[in-house]
Amino acid sequence: MIGFIVKGILRDRSRSLFPALIVAAGAMLTVFFYSYMQGGKNNFIETSARYQTGHLKVMTRAYAAESDLLPNDLALTGAAEVVYSLQAGYPELIWKPRIRFAGLLDVPDENGETRAQGPINGLAVELLADIRNENQNRRNLPEAEILNLEKGLIAGRLPERPREILVGSVLSSSLGINPGDRATIISSTMAGALAIADFTVAGIIRFGVTPLDKTMVIADLEDARQLLDMEDTAGEICGFFPDFFYRPQLAARLARDFNAKVEERAGNAGEDPDFLPLMLTLGEQGGLGDMIAIYDIYAFVLVAVFVAVMSLVLWNAGLMGSLRRYGEIGLRLAMGETHRHLYFSLLGEAVVIGLIGSVIGTALGLAVSFYLQAYGINAEAFTKTSEMMMTNLIRAQVTPVSYVIGFIPGLLATILGTAVAGLGIFRRRTAGLMKEFEA
């Protein structure tokens, strides 16, 4: 009987080609959109991780509670020791101390008068320590690589000496500064005093992430410590999975483990709880967890919509099909096939069509997705005004789910559509059959 069904499908193109094409189209779109959304999601997770949150981040509890305000007076002291203990306790991650600070960049003219001035977000990282290879003894990746500095450099060079900074591209053009120019950073020290120091602009950097390009200044960590009077202090210590693939469960487990240990130790020592270190995952910072969840819901809704729309189309196709096959169905009933059997044989056809269509559609969808994984789509028009931590070039990302997700609408919609359309069979009476078969 299965052979009979398959032969019928293969030979009757209107029974196979049209529905299979619809299924293939739907499966392809689903695979593509899913992969593209995954790409978008990962883009924004990865960008956040690299520039802002790490996959894990250690701060003092007080700093974490107000991290939006960059409260450097609440930073972690004894940073080197904390970094080493993190490195020892969680060697599968790369640990990087960073300081963030808000301030002004003041650009003087030849006479030393202010020519231009703008607010900045400073990020101080171990640029020179990496160059000096000071971190060789532990798992390391230079910050220049984590922040993709080489790639983003559009003028000048990376800092090689103390008192050199990188300036975001939009900021640099709005202030009219070029590599080699001098600029003054004005901020406040850890203790709340005025902090002011001269720097040389080593290079201009374009992150391709709008919020960064507008305000970001990157400085060396030691320079910032001097500027802000933060000796051996770090606002935050970011942990990165070396492959930059975020593992939410693993991250959560590590954070739980770390925080529990801190709790235990603090209980014994009776330290000020506000200044105890706290480890947060990427998802726990800045509502990223919610955004990821929302993204996943979008992906789910997308697939659901595809299933619904395709089901409608295929239901229609099924109705047309059974209209066209009215004679065949009547004949089969006359020959003693039961309504049930007939119904399930139609469902069987749907499964075959759904499988064939899904395979073809998935293959096509994967092809497009792989292409966009390699080349990406420039979404600058959309991200220009956005404050999302997202690079403008959005690449699709093929995940294991990409290989199977097309089968959900492909199979489900075909089966659903046929199941509904096929119900008509049960209403078909045999009483009129003989008359129908008169000329």
Partner: protein, 239 residues
Amino acid sequence: MAGPVIQTIDLTKVYPMGEYSITALNRVSLTFERGEFAGLVGPSGSGKTTFLNIVGTLDTPTSGQAIIMGTEISALSPLEAAGLRRQHIGFIFQTFNLFPVYTVYENVEFPLLLLGLPPVERRRRVMEALEWVRLADRARSRPTQLSGGQSQRVAIARAIVKKPAIVIADEPTANLDAENSYNILDIMRELNQELSITFLFATHDEKVIRYLRRKITLFDGRVAKDEILETAATPPPVT
């Protein structure tokens, strides 16, 4: 099986038509033994098709009984009726109604698939049936490649391949020319005699009537005449 293959007792079918109703069959009591070659004749609207429909378990009577292969059919569920058709009843229609996308072989094989016979057995029976209708060489053809006469022969093969007790044929020659009509009548008579399959026709066609061994005339839903035709065995005139 002992006893008649078909027996109807006061079989009545009334079609309600709004205010009034049409009595298509009015207390028809007929009995057919195994191996009969019988036909219903009568003017258009006399109830021939209605009778075949009920006897073929495609429809149910308004009152009275139809006992097919020992089973009273008005009590059957659609499922049981389908089972009865699958096992015991073959249909031949005026329009041949082959499955267009399947080959001759596959068309004939279909009833055996429904019965769940093993492949070897199916193959033997299909080829045997095709030989009966002299189309073994066209097993791989598609219905569209066949003439009307050939198509109706395939339909006959499909009806008899499961060796049913009863074959019901409503106007089987209406779409055929004389030569093809005689051809299929010959084949059906052969099958009737060799396999003792009961053939029950509804027809206006003189050529068919010439072959009948029993002719039942319906008029206004009643049996007007029920005659045994002794001349049935005479070969058809050459045309």
